[in-house]
Every structure is written in structure tokens, then in C-alpha cells.
């Protein structure tokens, strides 16, 4: 059996990859992909830890909810990105900076 720490390690690495993508990418959709990585890192943790919580199944349940909520948030974010593209003709967050001026 694979030890629990390995799952957590994979989760941590995935989280860092996602965070790296969020901080460095110049494209709003790639940032969303990074966020998706971070959420999936958490889901791996949940499912892996769920094996020690067999009677309540908290981890598995949480994983399902997290998947659904992530999909909802991404749908909204994509709609907003589409709207931004109509106005700016770009989705580079660095170039979208008319506020504050």
C-alpha cells in the first residue's frame, strides 16, 4: 500500500505548481488552470485522508463538493473573461489596468 505521506507530497507539489502558474502566467485562462491545479491538490489530500475516515466519508464528500464548486467558479470566471476580452481585446491581466488612474 502506498503510504499516506506520498499522497500529501504529490498534493503539495501540485499546489506549488498551481501557485507558480498563477503568479507567473500572463493569460487569464492559464491562471484559471493554475487555480484548478491548486484545487486538485486539495482534492487529492481529501481523498487520500478519507481512507482513515471510513464511517463518515468526510473526505470523499468534500472532494465531490469541491469539484462542483470549482466548476461553478470557473464557469463564472470564464464568462467574465469573455466580457473582458470584448472590451480590451486581450486577457493579459497585466494589461488590464485602467482602474486607479
Amino acid at each position: 500500500m502506498i503510504p499516506f505521506t506520498h499522497f500529501m507530497l504529490v498534493g503539495a507539489i501540485l499546489f506549488c505548481i498551481g501557485l507558480y502558474a498563477v503568479l507567473t502566467k500572463r493569460n487569464a485562462i492559464q491562471i484559471l488552470i493554475g487555480i484548478e491545479f491548486m484545487i486538485n491538490a486539495a482534492i487529492i489530500n481529501f481523498v487520500a485522508a478519507g481512507q482513515y475516515d471510513k464511517d463518515r466519508m468526510g473526505g470523499q464528500l468534500f472532494a465531490l463538493f469541491a469539484i462542483v464548486m470549482a466548476a461553478a467558479a470557473v464557469a463564472v470566471a470564464l464568462a467574465i473573461i469573455l466580457k473582458v476580452y470584448q472590451h480590451y481585446k486581450t486577457i493579459d491581466p497585466d494589461k488590464i489596468d485602467q482602474l486607479r488612474n
Binding site: F4, M8, G11, F15, G18, V22, A28, I31, L32, I35, M38, I39, A41, A42, I43, N45, F46, A48, A49, Y52, D53, R56, G58, G59, L61, F62, F65, A66, M69, A72, A73, V74, V76, A77, A79, I80, I81, K83, V84, Q86, H87, Y88, P93, I96, D97, Q98, L99, R100
Partner: protein
């Protein structure tokens, strides 16, 4: 097995009785969507009236819950209904109602091609999420409610999106919010991995106590980051000015009041699990939150001085107020919970009135810039007079409700200082007093420009439809209330009877 199923069904049926306000909001959400679909051209008016009545009904049910004596744990520890949560829910519903009135008088929303019925549905769903935030007792519920509010807020900010600024505010809010909630989710997954339970109870704390301190602290900090985004305390505040400036004014007013009230509700629920009842603290929340509150007050108030756009200024001032309310959170006693309820209630009235007046003045004069208010003080006497009262209350000037609120929070912090004598707490209180003085400078810029500076040219005032004047009267009424509650705080405080547990 059979036994446990019938047992949990019984528990759910029992719990539903305590969930009437939320059930009412859920039903209202569906009704508003359906009426919006079938009423055609009159949809805005009809859904507006339906939503307002629905919120009143939800308010009636919530007021009925004021009889709850102690905290009731429902749905297998999913949510916990405390007296504190009931008060927060009432304030949230008040925010919702004021928001509905506000949408009626905002020209930008009134002229929106697609109508307002969807916005009303979104607001109701967001309020539902906020209600659950104030009652959460489980990490799953915490994540779900925060996420529910987040998604609703993104939609509200991006609802009109008629120009570049609004869509920019929406995308910044959505991306930053999604990152913060992903960070929080990871923190929750770590907490679950360490403790094996999602319920914030004694078992959770006991299991967390035996995990390595570094890992446990990291997980708690990650969760706090997600909540901090909603509260907009300092390391996570930089989205606030942009979003408050870009979003349409009613939405800004709603997010700056209801969003904060719900966030304070959830942070109390989260801290309760770690409170000294269990005899230990993993991360010293008191020190951590004190430092955060000090920095939040300094940055919020000092950055507000340089702002010319009134919405941006109010955004920074709301950050400053967050820092101040956090003082009550740090004191964490029955008195401080009471002070916090009073502060949040008054803050709701003040901020709603301030944004309503800023919106009215924008429609009348065509500007949001404080430096362009020159000479309008005499042209719009009622609006600016009410605005000055509201600003005095935001400063915490004696004889306004803002003063009483600040005094209550301050005295609850002082009580803790007399008890513990910690230096950090002394610095915190000193900063609270100092930044209140600083806030004089930026709030008084408005009457300075409106009344004292001579205009370069004769100020031009646009004539407005009747419903805009309606907004003026509402905000003037709110300003009057602030004075009344300042002189007779018992009118509110007499009703508030609660313990923090």
C-alpha cells in the same frame, strides 16, 4: 443501520425547523427567477417588490429565532445557530433590503438592458450563503458558504459590465477570489488530513494538538487567508479599492457591508473552535490578529488620504474600519461580541448612506472626484448636509452612532488589556485612537471642497427623475438614524443580549 438512518432523518427534520429563514430565502430565490421570466417588461418592478417582501418574511423568521437561548447544533454538527448568528443574519437582511432600495435609484442599473431581475436572484442567493457563513460549524460548510458568496459576488460585480472599468473590476475580483479560495481549500484539506474530522469540535482540536506545530499552523494560516480575502485585512486588501471603484455603486455598498458582516460571522465561528475553552492555542491568534489589525488600520487610513475618487476613499476607509472591528474580535468576550454587533449595524447604516449619497451626488453633478465637489455644497444642501453627518459618524465624532460604536469596541479591548496587560494590545488601542485622528483628514476633505473652496465656474446640476430624490430621502433618513442612535444607543443596545459562545 436502519436505526441510524431513521435517527438521521429525525435529526434533519428537527433541524429544518431552525432553518426557516434560509428556507424562505431559497424559496424566494426560485420565485424571483420565475417571476422575472414571466412578467416581461414589468419584471424589474415586480421582482423588486417580490424580493423586498420575501426579505421581510425572512427577517420575520429570523427575528423569531431571537428566542434561542444557547447555541443549537444542527444537522450532525454542520451548522450551529447561536444568538450572535441571529443578530448577524438580521444585519445581513437589512443590508439586502437597503441594497434593493439602492438599485431602484441607481441610474446605471435602472438603464441596464437586461433588467434587474437576475441581479435580485443573485443577491438573494448570496444572502443565503452569507447566512450560512454566520452559522457554520463545519469545514465543509465553511468552504461551501464562502464559495457560494464568492461566486455570487463575482456575478454582482460583473453584472452590468457595460464599460472597461466594470469588467476589469470583475475579472480582478474573480481571479483573486478564486486563488484565495483555492488556498483556503488546500488549508482545509491539510486540516482534514491532520485531524480526520471536518467538524470544528473538541475531537478536531485534540487531534490538531498532536500534529506538528509547523504544519498545523500553516494549515490554519491558509484557511485564515481565504477568510481574510472576504474581510479584506491587510496582506489581502489590495483588491478592495479597484473592485469598489469599478463595480456599480449599489453593488459596492452591498459588498462593503454585507460581505464584511458575513466574514466577521465566519471568522468568529472559526476562532470559537480554537478559543481558550480548550485551554490552548496552536497559533497565538490574539497576537497574530493584533498585528494584522494594527497594519490594517494604518494602511487603510493612511492610503485613504491620497484618494480623490470618493468610492476609492470609502474603500480604504472600510479597510480601516475592518482593522478597528478586529479589535473587538481580539478581545473576544461577551462585551466585545455585543460591541461588534453594534459596530457592524452602525457601519452598515453609515456605509450604505455614504455610498447612496455619493451615487446621488454623482448623478447630480456627474463626478465622483472629491476635488470637483467645489461649490456644490450650497447647490445640494440636503445631500451634502446628510453626507457630512454620515462622515462625522464614520470618523466616530461624539453625538453620532459611530462614536458609541468605537467607544464600545475600545472599552472591550481596554477590559482585556486591564486583564492581560499585553503591550501589543496597548499598541493596538493606541493605533485605533491615532488612526481615528488620521481619518479626520480624508473625511473632512469632502466638506472642505464642497463648502469652503470657491468654484472656478458656476456649478452645473443635472435634473433627475423622481426616484433619484427618493434615494436622497432614504440616505437622509439613515443619517438622521445615525444621530438618533448616537444620542440614544439604548434603542439598539437594549435589544442586543448575547454571549459569544
Amino acid at each position: 443501520m436502519q436505526q441510524s438512518i431513521s435517527q438521521s432523518i429525525n435529526e434533519i427534520l428537527y433541524g429544518l425547523g431552525y432553518l426557516l429563514p434560509e428556507l424562505a430565502l431559497t424559496a424566494l430565490f426560485i420565485i424571483v427567477i420565475i417571476t422575472g421570466l414571466f412578467t416581461g417588461k414589468r419584471a424589474d418592478k415586480v421582482t423588486g417588490i417580490v424580493s423586498f417582501t420575501g426579505l421581510l418574511i425572512a427577517g420575520y423568521f429570523t427575528a423569531g429565532q431571537l428566542t434561542t437561548e444557547s447555541t443549537v447544533s444542527l444537522f450532525g454538527g454542520m451548522i450551529a445557530l447561536s444568538r450572535l448568528a441571529v443578530y448577524l443574519k438580521l444585519i445581513l437582511l437589512l443590508c439586502g433590503m437597503l441594497f434593493l432600495l439602492f438599485t431602484q435609484i441607481n441610474a446605471e442599473l435602472q438603464q441596464h438592458k437586461k433588467g434587474l431581475s437576475d441581479l435580485y436572484a443573485i443577491v438573494i442567493a448570496t444572502l443565503l450563503g452569507m447566512n450560512f457563513m454566520a452559522m457554520t460549524a463545519n469545514l465543509l460548510m465553511l468552504y461551501l458558504s464562502v464559495e457560494m458568496v464568492s461566486v455570487g459576488s463575482y456575478l454582482m460585480v460583473g453584472y452590468v459590465s457595460s464599460n472597461t472599468r466594470q469588467s476589469e473590476a470583475a475579472i480582478k475580483y474573480a481571479l483573486f477570489g478564486a486563488v484565495c479560495s483555492a488556498v483556503m481549500l488546500y488549508g482545509i484539506s491539510l486540516l482534514y488530513s491532520f485531524t480526520g474530522t471536518l467538524v470544528l469540535d473538541n475531537e478536531f482540536i485534540a487531534n490538531l494538538r498532536v500534529t506538528p506545530q509547523l504544519g498545523a499552523s500553516l494549515a490554519v494560516l491558509l484557511v485564515l487567508a481565504g477568510i481574510g480575502f472576504k474581510l479584506s485585512f491587510v496582506p489581502l486588501h489590495f483588491w478592495t479599492p479597484d473592485i469598489y471603484e469599478g463595480a456599480s455603486t449599489p453593488v459596492t455598498a452591498f459588498l462593503s457591508t454585507a460581505g464584511k458582516v458575513a466574514a466577521f460571522g465566519v471568522v468568529i465561528r472559526f476562532l470559537l473552535a480554537f478559543s481558550p475553552r480548550h485551554g490552548f492555542l496552536i497559533v497565538d491568534f490574539q497576537q497574530l490578529l493584533s498585528i494584522i489589525a494594527i497594519i490594517t488600520m494604518i494602511i487603510g487610513n493612511f492610503a485613504a488620504i491620497w484618494q480623490d475618487n470618493i468610492k476609492r476613499m470609502l474603500a480604504y476607509s472600510s479597510i480601516g474600519h475592518t482593522g478597528f472591528i478586529m479589535m473587538a474580535l481580539i478581545a473576544f468576550s461577551d462585551a466585545s461580541a455585543k460591541a461588534m454587533i453594534f459596530y457592524l449595524f452602525v457601519y452598515t447604516l453609515m456605509n450604505m448612506a455614504a455610498f447612496m449619497l455619493a451615487d446621488y451626488i454623482e448623478q447630480k453633478t456627474g463626478t465622483l472626484k472629491i476635488s470637483e465637489y467645489k461649490g456644490f455644497g450650497k447647490k445640494l444642501p440636503l445631500a451634502f448636509c446628510a453626507l457630512v453627518i454620515v462622515l462625522l459618524s464614520l470618523i466616530g465624532f461624539p453625538a453620532t452612532a459611530g462614536f458609541i460604536a468605537k467607544v464600545l469596541v475600545f472599552s472591550s479591548a481596554l477590559e482585556l488589556y486591564n486583564f492581560s496587560g499585553s503591550v501589543l494590545l496597548l499598541i493596538l488601542m493606541a493605533m485605533g485612537a491615532l488612526t481615528t485622528v488620521v481619518s479626520l483628514f480624508y473625511y473632512f476633505k469632502i466638506p472642505l471642497f464642497a463648502y469652503l473652496k470657491k468654484p472656478d465656474a458656476e456649478p452645473v446640476i443635472f435634473s433627475l427623475p423622481k426616484n433619484a430624490a427618493f434615494g436622497l430621502y432614504i440616505s437622509a433618513g439613515l443619517a438622521l438614524l445615525l444621530v438618533v442612535f448616537g444620542l440614544f444607543p439604548q434603542l439598539v443596545n437594549g435589544w442586543v443580549e448575547l454571549t459569544i459562545r
